[in-house]
């Protein structure tokens, strides 16, 4: 793992010193272990701040739209797919972007870690191949890595960056056997009343803080439909109908674009199960239009194109 950090720093330093980029977007250590946060580096002397571990969960592509500088960006599988999506949507120029692709083994869900430790505070953490050693003031525990991963990481099939200029470290094997839609299929099999009850309950937790929207790399609209006042599409209160409308439309807006990076769910302070909606649309898009977001720069996004033979059984 340290080799990766060294390589990231070395590449970042080179890019800045040779003036290939103005800015490096990467991760630095947070104040607590396993709590890395995004950082922005403009000075080659600061590259030592850059780090890499299993808590580099943010999707850094979020910081790309509207940026005028030439950017070097650290990209995991999902970040790189988001970058592909943003490039397809002409949100930036490819030649102003240097992508430092870092293969990813899945990121740790802090909530799972906390519950595994029953809320005890981690003061030190050491990552090993398949386990993580965590130490606190009065405990020391070795936890299996696989149990701590985010759901989206657990079923991820694109751990290696799909687009990059510099590959940092070695590619990791992709897990082919996982069914990324297992929980969605299970949910679809329930009755309409059960689904309704579950989702209404999930959505009612929402306090409309829009953290999900602000964390999402694809929510870059200058004016979001929820902020429109003329016409006011959706009320601004936490009325259950307005909240549901917000989530349904946001999910629709992400159809064929969402790369399941999990940024929205991580950002959500209320633990709303946003993935249930987004992943469903991802599944529908894949099944109906044979499209998977963020894999191919040349391909048109599914709602920006069509096939004359598209299914229209539902139309009279």
């Amino acid at each position: 793992m340290n080799d990766v950090i060294a390589a990231i720093r070395q590449t970042a330093r080179k890019l800045l010193e040779e003036n290939q980029v103005d800015l490096i977007i990467g991760f630095e250590d947070g104040t607590l272990p396993l709590c890395s946060s995004p950082c922005f580096i403009r000075n080659p002397d600061d590259v030592e701040r850059l780090t890499w571990d299993s808590s580099c969960e943010n999707n850094l592509a979020r910081f790309l739209p509207d940026r005028k500088e030439r950017v070097g960006i650290i990209a995991k599988g999902c970040d790189s797919r988001a970058i592909v999506g943003l490039l397809q949507e002409n949100q930036m120029e490819r030649d102003k972007l240097v992508i430092l692709g870092v293969p990813c083994r899945g990121m740790i869900d802090r909530k799972k870690l906390e519950s595994a430790l029953e809320g005890k505070e981690v003061l030190e953490a050491e990552e090993r191949d398949d386990t993580i050693l965590v130490k606190g003031s009065d405990f020391e525990k070795v936890l299996p890595r696989a149990d701590l991963l985010h759901q989206s990481c657990r079923v991820c099939r694109h751990r290696n960056p799909v687009i990059y200029d510099h590959l940092i470290g070695e590619k990791v094997p992709e897990s082919e056997e996982v069914d990324e839609y297992e929980d969605i299929k299970e949910f679809e099999a329930k009755s309409a009343e059960e689904r309704r009850a579950y989702l209404t309950n999930a959505i009612n937790k929402c306090i409309r803080c829009y953290a999900c929207r602000n964390a999402c790399p694809f929510c870059y609209c200058r004016e979001c439909f929820v902020d429109n006042s003329e016409p006011q599409w959706v009320g601004k209160t936490i009325d259950p109908v307005d909240t549901e409308l917000f989530h349904l439309v946001r999910a629709l807006h992400l159809a064929g674009r969402c790369v399941d990076c999990g940024a929205c769910e991580r950002a959500c302070p209320m633990g709303v199960d946003l993935r249930k909606l987004n992943k469903k649309l991802e599944k529908d898009v894949e099944e109906r239009f044979g499209y998977k977001a963020g894999l191919d720069l040349e391909e048109l996004p599914p709602l920006a194109t069509y096939r004359p033979e598209d299914d229209q059984e539902f139309i009279r």
Binding site: A192, R195, R196, E244, L245, L248, A251, Y306, R316
Partner: protein, 148 residues
């Protein structure tokens, strides 16, 4: 009309009709004196591709019991391909509504050309009957419809 009949609930259906085909089809139904239920409130849009799924959800929120979107047949779009794009969006919307447990049949789509006045009246009749069978919309309504 006797009192019983007056009290019977009638659905309110918002119909987005494309200017070039379905609106003209509705017009033809009218000038041909074809009968269809008076439950639809027509909104004329330039193309079915103009219909954002948000319009449909918003109509339901405002208390519509159903929504009908109608455009030109595939291949006949005045703008060549607007209805093809629309078809993709609507497929996703319909599937999502079903997924979240809202009756997907409240939202209906049809292709009606300018010469299909009779098809238009049939579609409206069928859609109205279907939505009548579902009863008043309750799931995504913010302002509950006022009692008649």
């Amino acid at each position: 009309m006797d009192k019983e009949e007056k009290k019977e609930w009638e659905p309110r259906i918002v119909a987005f009709l494309c200017n070039w085909c379905s609106y003209a089809g509705a017009d033809l139904a009218g000038v041909s004196r074809l009968q269809y239920p008076p439950n639809i409130r027509v909104i004329r849009v330039p193309c079915s591709g103009r219909v954002n799924p948000l319009f449909i959800l918003r109509a339901l929120r405002q208390g519509a019991d159903g929504v009908l979107v109608s455009g030109c047949h595939p291949g006949d779009c005045h703008y060549l391909s607007g209805n093809y794009y629309a078809r993709r969006k609507f497929a996703l919307l319909k599937s999502l509504l079903e997924y979240v447990g809202i009756e997907p049949d409240r939202v209906q789509f049809s292709w009606v050309s300018a010469s299909e006045g009779s098809k238009f009246s049939e579609v409206v009749t069928e859609v109205t009957e279907g939505i009548k069978a579902l009863g008043p919309s309750t799931k995504l309504v913010k302002t509950k419809p006022k009692d008649e």
